[in-house]
Symmetry: C2
Subunit: 467 residues, 2 copies
């Protein structure tokens, strides 16, 4: 069967790079889905064949009605037809498979939850893992047909660098989603922006964002400790990497099954308590999501104003003073000209400032937007579980579910709730740290900015002789 | 004959004030031109009668073709039909009347020009005249039908206040134009804005501008010393004022005749030198006029941005921080809320700043715009004189003008040029003083503004605990 795909956004091909220019709405035939690196090979209606970024197209035969109880199967099924990223969570994973599970994972797989100062918390490692993403290098494959960028990642634990391409980060991301997304919101990787991807600025920006993503993953006690994440950071050679990959891809403890590995050493919660907590978190993440989006929108506007009309305006003010000064030239007025130049400098300061402070504010809030965007999916699993337990309550009275099964379900629901609580507490502690750091940095830069302008103007003022 | 008038701008009547609402393009019949105070009584097509501001209408029977050699007669003629202000300088006064004059005015009327450091200068008084315009009070006339505002003007010479209405300022202005405008640019009075003219803010603004206008007139050695100006500032009672007015209105030394009172105690200039100076001044005033207008346009834009989108944007930034803070409220984040409030305060600072500094910059440049707007008319008289002398040169060769008359014309042209030079030197010294003061004031306020913002942000930053 030939796979058809619809183009979502215009994509202008980079010359000499085997790419195919496509336009929004155009229908393509996918000729090779296994190109990798975020690319597919496709043919347009005029018969031209070339590479197109997979994020720019939507595979057409996607309307699959599935009544699956196992989220993993859905994932796998979708993954196989290559439409994974489009389909993720278009249907809430059904927690029933887990809710009736009796066994609890043992040994290394076990994820304990403790009573911390702020409530239930994950088990945090003694030394917090971190890594440095650096040194982007250009490589090529397919006999030089396709180029790519390889980053060097050095964890603080081994201090031994490993190399990864964006494609590998993407693989890691997909494994983490598959394994943990029902319990832990896994923030998306930075955008797979494609045009101009070898430009200095884009590479730097992607690296910075991959660094942010990796640091956030490193800070998470569950993720950082997982086999797949450890493999990504610590593999010693190509063989170990390939073997590890294969093993990881066969992992059975994925989707809702992840809850079966969670072991809260805390008193069981009744469904009412669970629901209350659920509502609270649900509301918080929604509100924070709104606020973050508002801040981003305002920041975006401000950025545009600073680099657009405001810069232009200060330039005009500077120019107007300088023009007047040149008219006055006959009777010498260098001071006014200096004032004009000062305002031209202010124009550049105003236009350059967003990169200095607003950038970090936007990046951090963008990260949080991504993170918060995962919460609805994650909490939906919990909501579905609550509904199942409520339903079971009803079914018990009709003798369709045994008291014993109902109790197992309630216990497992309590476990799920502890997972959510531990995750929320993790989120909060990170959030407090991140926003505290962000606001301090932002305000420090803003103070410097206004002080610099005041200094410049003072200097300009000093050139006038007092009357 | 009924006088018809066309409405130039919409004018909404103030209720209970005997005014007539009119619309642009409407044709009115003027029923009383002698209402005074900038008003005429008029009837609209529906038969309603009421007062309309005379600046808002154009009297229709105005197309009078006059070939007058005496500017004064033209003025007088126009003045009688009440269309004076519409007609001013629509035709350059013909300097021929003066160019052939042999006599020089004597005694008090004489206006000497000396060689100063910067070139030819007027005779400056030992103590510079100045006055304070203050204490606007509401009065009424026509049995309470019309209200007006009376200002108190106190000159530094007598320290004795006199009262004048805007109408009197306007009378003074018209006398000054009539007498001096061929030699000295007389800046227009502040706009005769009519709607909302009893509002606090408008009265303050008009007073401020009348102050600026009066101070500029006081600073002028020729104007401040003139009979009409002295009368305006020093009259002791209603009788003296009325007598003085009548006398002044009969003054014969007006229009181009003013040059006959000018007595430069300096070597005669040849017509070539005169033309060269003329070109220089002409170009300078044009360039400065352009620069001043550019600065005003930029200032206007900046004002609008500060009080419009920029204020809005800082408010939004403040609000976004505060909203985020309220989401974070569960774990207490008063510092972020304080940052939000700080940005709201910055919004008000940004919006309030133009009134503090840009206002003075705009006012000063507006004054200069007005002054520079008078120069083309004034220098046109000089240009016409140069042309007449050139023509005379030609007529001498054809024996149509005597050598003697030609020499009188050249001498008088030289006198006119000295008047222009003295006036330009006066203008330059004022300009240097004004712009020096303006720029210092503006920059001082700007420094304060940016320092205040930096201080506020520093305080907001201080509330965060260091990580």
């Amino acid at each position: 069967m030939s796979v058809k795909a619809q183009v979502l956004y215009d994509f202008p091909a980079e010359p000499g790079n085997n790419e195919l220019s496509v336009q929004e709405g155009e229908i393509l035939t996918v000729t090779n889905q296994n190109v990798g690196g975020g690319w597919v090979e496709a043919r347009n209606s005029r018969g031209n064949v070339g590479l197109v970024p997979e994020d720019y197209i939507e595979v057409k035969n996607t309307l699959i009605i599935c009544f699956v109880f196992d989220f993993t199967s859905l994932y796998r099924a979708l993954d196989e037809i290559g439409t994974f990223s489009l389909f993720r969570f278009s249907k809430t994973p059904n927690p029933e498979v887990y809710l009736l599970t009796k066994s609890i994972a043992k040994g290394n797989d076990k994820l304990p939850i403790y009573a911390g100062e702020v409530g239930p918390v994950w088990l945090y490692p003694q030394i917090q893992l971190d890594c440095v993403v650096a040194d982007p290098k250009k490589g090529s494959k397919m006999y030089g047909l396709k180029s790519y960028i390889e980053y060097q990642i050095t964890p603080n634990t081994t201090n031994r660098p490993v190399n990864h391409r964006y494609k590998h980060f993407d693989w890691l991301y997909e494994r983490l989603v598959e394994k943990f997304a029902c319990a832990l919101p896994i923030p998306c990787l930075p955008d797979k922006q494609v045009t101009g991807r070898f430009e200095e600025e884009f590479i730097q920006m992607r690296m910075e964002r991959l660094q942010g993503w990796m640091s956030r993953m490193c800070r998470h006690p569950v993720i950082s400790n997982s086999d797949v994440f450890q493999l990504f950071l610590n593999y010693r050679d190509e063989k170990e990497w390939k073997l590890g990959k294969r093993k990881t891809e066969k992992d059975e403890i994925v989707g809702v099954k992840i809850f079966s590995t969670i072991d809260p050493e805390l008193p069981e919660l009744d469904p009412g308590q669970v629901e209350q907590k659920y509502e609270m978190y649900s509301q918080f993440t929604r509100s924070m999501d709104n606020s973050v989006k508002e801040l981003l929108a305002v920041g975006h506007l401000h950025w545009k104003r600073c680099t657009g009309p405001l810069q232009k305006e200060y330039r005009q003010i500077g120019k107007a003073f300088q023009n007047l000064s040149s008219v006055f030239n006959t009777s010498a007025y260098p001071t006014l000209s200096a004032t004009g130049k000062t305002y031209e400098e202010i124009a550049e300061l105003v236009a350059g400032q967003p990169k200095k402070d607003l950038h970090f504010l936007m990046e951090t809030n963008n990260e949080y937007k991504g993170l918060l965007g995962c919460f609805p999916d994650t909490v939906a699993v919990h909501k579905a579980a609550i509904d199942k337990v409520k339903e079971a309550d009803h079914l018990v009275t009709m003798n369709k579910v045994s008291q014993q099964d109902k109790h197992i379900m309630e216990k497992n629901l309590s476990t799920m709730s502890y997972a959510l609580q531990a995750e929320m507490n993790h989120f909060h502690s990170n959030r407090i740290y991140d926003y505290n750091r962000l606001m301090q940095f932002y305000l420090e830069e803003q103070v410097k900015f206004y002080e610099t302008i005041a200094e410049k103007l003072k200097k300009a003022l000093g050139q006038y002789t007092t009357i």
